[in-house]
Amino acid sequence: MVHKMLKIFGRVFSQTLHKPFTVMYPFEKRNVPTNHRGRHIFIQKNCTACTMCARVCPTVAIHLNREKKEISINYSRCIFCSFCVDACKFNALHSSPDYELSEYSLDNLTYSPQRLGAPRNDKVKWRGKECI
């Protein structure tokens, strides 16, 4: 009984000596794999408006403008399955590992072709410190 208590408290003491496991979000973030399917990147000059991506999307999240050859993706419907990325033969759609997509209003979740064209690069500040 006393031996068991000593083992418990020895373990407790050694546990306080190493660094805790906490990730101080949003100043530190955990690493995601590079294959992680997040939001899409759309390269307009490769697009030929073949409509394969819109046809294969299971939730009808992609809207295509055939004359202007532009895509807009509705992220309130997208399930990030990346069938569209596999379906595109012209390398116009790619996946990026960006997963922080929350918005304050539902209209902002429909990404226009210009917004899809570049990864997000706005620096957010929280409590005076910059977040990654």
Partner: protein, 352 residues
């Protein structure tokens, strides 16, 4: 007619004046007592120390469980509890429809008051102790017997089944562990020859009583962890099983009062452990006795927090087994041993 009214007003004015002047006189005569009761080591100080104890517990639990405690609010999470308190104070107080309203609202205040009056009897030092009594050890225990009654009544007055079960468990635990708690304090009282906590703490200026009765100290700590219902022995508050036991239905301000009362009980037991076993007030030469006392209470609180964060909860039958089959015989043996030594070998102990 108008003259009579003016006489009436003059009489009221003079009565008010005399009442106010007696109040001011009383305040002036007892200003130190009022300071002790309200500021240090009274109301403001115990609220501040309850906040500190909760912060300490959350940080130490976190570090032992391989995570940080609160970090964002205040420099190291120190203002987290104040943010929680503000949130709780701004909530609506809900009284369940099947509850007994008057008792339901009154019991948190009774709990807090019993523990706060107990804190007034802690012997910080000759001049800084708020209350002094010849029988303060028994008086503190008499006040602590209010707590199981409050728990049982709160469980029943909440009008639902989880608090009822929690109330029964709480009452059986508190009554069970009250006996070893009191008997553990008998050994230092025998050694000091008095049941006044101030005299017990002052007799330890040469050697602390923990050197003579370490077993009594251990049983006191175990019994006090059970009395404040902290983790190894917190069957009444079993979060995963009966939501929060006998305090489930209390929300908002009542939650805050019960939570603070629990940590004030920890403060009270740390104070009593220091007075009974650790030679309260003497030991560190360059600090005044009050601050030495507070430092020792701090150390005891950290010790109890480390114990509660590293062990898991015991079952009800294991809890009762610990109480009646392990703690109680140990305390009785301890008392018998101390009595034998005092009767036949008084020269072994440097106390009269």
């Amino acid at each position: 007619m108008i003259v009579h009214q003016l006489d009436f007003l003059e009489d009221i004015g003079s009565i008010l004046q005399s009442v106010l002047s007696t109040i001011f006189e009383l305040v002036e005569q007892n200003s130190f007592l009022l300071f002790k009761v309200l500021v240090f080591p009274g109301l403001l100080f115990i609220i501040f120390s309850a906040i500190t104890l909760v912060w300490l517990e959350r940080k130490i639990w976190g570090r032992i469980q391989d995570r940080r405690g609160p970090t964002y609010i205040g420099k190291f999470g120190t203002l987290q509890l104040i943010a929680d308190a503000i949130k709780l104070l701004s909530k609506e107080t809900i009284v369940p429809s099947k509850a007994y309203r008057l008792m339901y609202r009154f019991l948190p205040i009774l709990n807090f008051a019993a523990v706060a009056i107990g804190i007034a009897l802690i012997p910080f030092s000759e001049e800084w102790a708020i209350g002094r009594s010849n029988v303060s050890l028994i008086l503190v225990y008499a006040l602590l017997t209010v707590i199981p009654v409050v728990g049982l009544l709160a469980g029943w007055a909440s009008g639902s089944k989880y608090p009822l079960v929690g109330g029964f468990r709480f009452a059986s635990q508190q009554f069970g562990f009250g006996v070893p708690l009191l008997l553990s304090a008998v050994a230092p009282a025998l050694l000091a020859g008095s049941i006044d906590l101030m005299i017990i703490s002052q007799r330890q200026s040469v050697i602390w009583f923990i050197v003579f009765t370490p077993l009594s100290f251990i049983t006191f700590i175990v019994a006090s962890v059970a009395e404040i219902s902290k983790v190894p022995l917190d069957i009444p508050d079993a979060d995963a099983e009966i939501v929060w036991g006998w305090r489930t239905e209390y929300s908002g301000v009542y939650f805050l009062i019960y939570y603070f009362a629990q940590y004030l009980e920890l403060f009270l037991f740390a104070g009593m452990a220091t007075a009974l076993f650790l030679g309260g007030g003497s030991g560190i030469p360059f600090l005044p006795p009050v601050l030495t006392y507070l430092v020792k209470m701090f150390v005891v609180s950290i010790m109890i927090t480390v114990i509660t964060s590293s062990l898991h909860r015991v079952r009800m039958d294991q809890l009762l087994r610990i109480c009646w089959r392990i703690l109680l015989p140990l305390t009785l043996l301890n008392i018998a041993g101390i009595m034998l030594v005092l009767a036949y070998f008084p020269q072994l102990l440097p106390v009269s």
